[in-house]
Symmetry: C2
Subunit: 347 residues, 2 copies
């Protein structure tokens, strides 16, 4: 399988997508035939593999690379002799945060019939928006921490909860913009800061020292059979909570991880919850679910529909899995004009 | 204000979008400067106002019209002397069903920075998918009928409910594909039929003779003030439930409607529920909420984020409202390369 790799995006996570792409290049090597960079002005560029260094992007040099246009069935360069399609069998959407995970690129790729690995529009919207993820979890019977959802700065609303609290922008990944309120006098300031990132904010109890576990997976299709594939469950390194700097480095990881120390019962529970959340909404994507374990109960923290460098380091046999990711089957939509013709006949 | 009108779409509702556009042309007249047709192959065409007759589309003649490319800031025709932008101040998304209401076009228009009236990607996904609408209503404290959600044909699951039942494709508007099961021996057949339209199906009790009410509205911005505008509440004509044929004709309506006979308390209740559902998710769109009243309680039936010809016939002063629809404010996303530069310095 030959891949195209889409990265960048107009997003607070623009830079970590670049790092993530460089890390995935190390893993997949020459299987990636096309590196497609989306810049902050929503222009696509075709990047030569040898130019895949962060400095190309931070310096703006990438603007000298050929520009691409997204049209039916692919990305095209425009030359003197007409347009030429960029060759790959399957595109990997590796744009973290806005554009990549909010449903916009899923929509564009679906609309223009580009085959891709990544969350579709519904899956994107329900995982990018943390409030919607809460609703989804509730509907699927998956536990989450209690929460308060704010659409505007309202310090008084916090009275319903006990400190310490963790405050998250509702639509931002990679722990960006997250704040902790330890006591009342910090509340107004922290809320101010978090509202700079989003007009909606989600507030949860902050559980000091809570155990966190990451489980990635997807459905694959092999010899006509559809199967779930799960990664190793990892207990990520962390301090209070992962800061941007730590997560940033995390996106560039290439080494395999050690398995978390968890009972088989809890492991099985996590896989069952993963299945309930994944199927059929996330079909087509390799996702990572982040869970908490509190008093032997598993809670969903968040769903990461495009984890850093696709969480390849959590899988035994990443290249094979990638090759067999199951894709959603589109419903055929016939356009017949039967009704219009009937009306015209009746005239 | 000069409008562009986007209609058609690769959707089961392709034809009703055409009828809807022709009806809106009668209402807005020469204020519509550009008619942009999206065909079943996802190509855009610029249609002359004088050619806006259903026969142009059913005959395939539209393919002789200039093709448009969606790029940054608008739709462009390609001529010998370069590309030319199609002129309008504001685009109206009038594509019902798939493409228009499922988040795809919202994403495309947002991505390419085209100003438009219509639901954004989150609003689209949560209203197009009836199961997600149930989740949203629950979260907002809005009553809906009890339901069963099926991801595959499972006649036995119906045992949890009493007949008669109404069976709906989960992601299809305009009453398309809906079936009623009056007794057990019809169940397998009706489910078969409905699953032809979608891989997900929503089942509710079928309330014979239930009172249904439609309320349209939006937020507008005038002189810096943001206000809710509500339409007349209509009790739509119906038999058992609206069939496609009836709804189809409905999309072409141009006459004003009579106000429904409802107590002021229930009217106020509907407006309050509308506000709770609309704000801030649907900002930018003129939507119609369809409610049931059962034993003096208001239930949400569905949210129609792009009602037929924008439900103009429900409003007193449609042209003015349209001109002042409030649009969502995007969060600025700076792309700085601060982190990448730091890493490079540390090398």
């Amino acid at each position: 399988m030959e891949y195209g790799l889409l990265f960048g995006g107009k997003s607070f996570e623009h830079e970590i997508s670049i790092v993530s792409a460089i890390a995935l290049k190390e893993v997949l090597g020459t299987q990636i035939k096309a590196f497609i960079f989306l810049d902050g002005a929503h222009k696509f560029y075709l990047i030569e593999p040898k130019d895949m260094r962060s400095q190309l992007f931070s310096s703006g040099q990438y603007k000298k690379c050929p520009e691409l246009t997204l049209k039916m069935h692919g990305f095209y360069t425009q030359g003197l002799l007409g347009s030429k399609k960029t060759a790959f069998d399957m595109l990997i959407n590796l744009i973290h945060g806005a554009d990549g995970e909010d449903g916009k690129l899923a929509s564009l790729l679906d609309f223009f019939s580009v085959k891709f690995i990544g969350p579709r529009v519904e899956a994107s919207v329900l995982s990018f928006n943390k409030h919607f993820t809460k609703m989804l979890a509730k509907e699927k019977g998956v536990c989450t921490l209690p929460y308060l959802f704010l659409e505007h700065h309202d310090k008084n609303a916090l009275k319903a909860m006990d400190y310490p609290l963790i405050v998250k922008p509702n639509r931002l990944g990679s722990s960006l913009g997250i704040g902790v309120i330890k006591e009342d006098r910090e509340a107004a300031f922290v809320l101010d800061e978090v509202f700079e990132f989003d007009s909606e904010v989600l507030i949860e109890p902050f559980k000091e020292g809570v155990k966190e576990y990451n489980l990635a997976g997807c459905k694959i299709q092999e010899k006509g059979e559809s199967t779930f594939i799960f990664s190793t469950i990892e207990e990520p390194q962390k301090k209070d909570f992962l800061s941007f700097d730590q997560k940033y480095l995390d996106f560039g990881r290439t080494a395999k991880v050690a398995k978390a120390d968890l009972s088989p019962v809890l492991e099985e529970k996590m896989r069952a919850l993963f299945k309930a959340l994944y199927d059929p909404l996330f079909v087509g994507a390799i996702i990572r679910c982040d869970f908490f374990v509190i008093d032997n109960e598993v809670y969903l923290n968040e769903i990461n529909p495009i984890p850093g460098s696709l969480a390849h380091y959590l899988f035994e046999d990443f290249a094979r899995i990638l090759e067999h990711v199951e894709l959603p089957k589109p419903t055929p939509i016939p356009i017949t004009y039967n009704y219009i013709n009937q009306i015209q006949k009746a005239k």
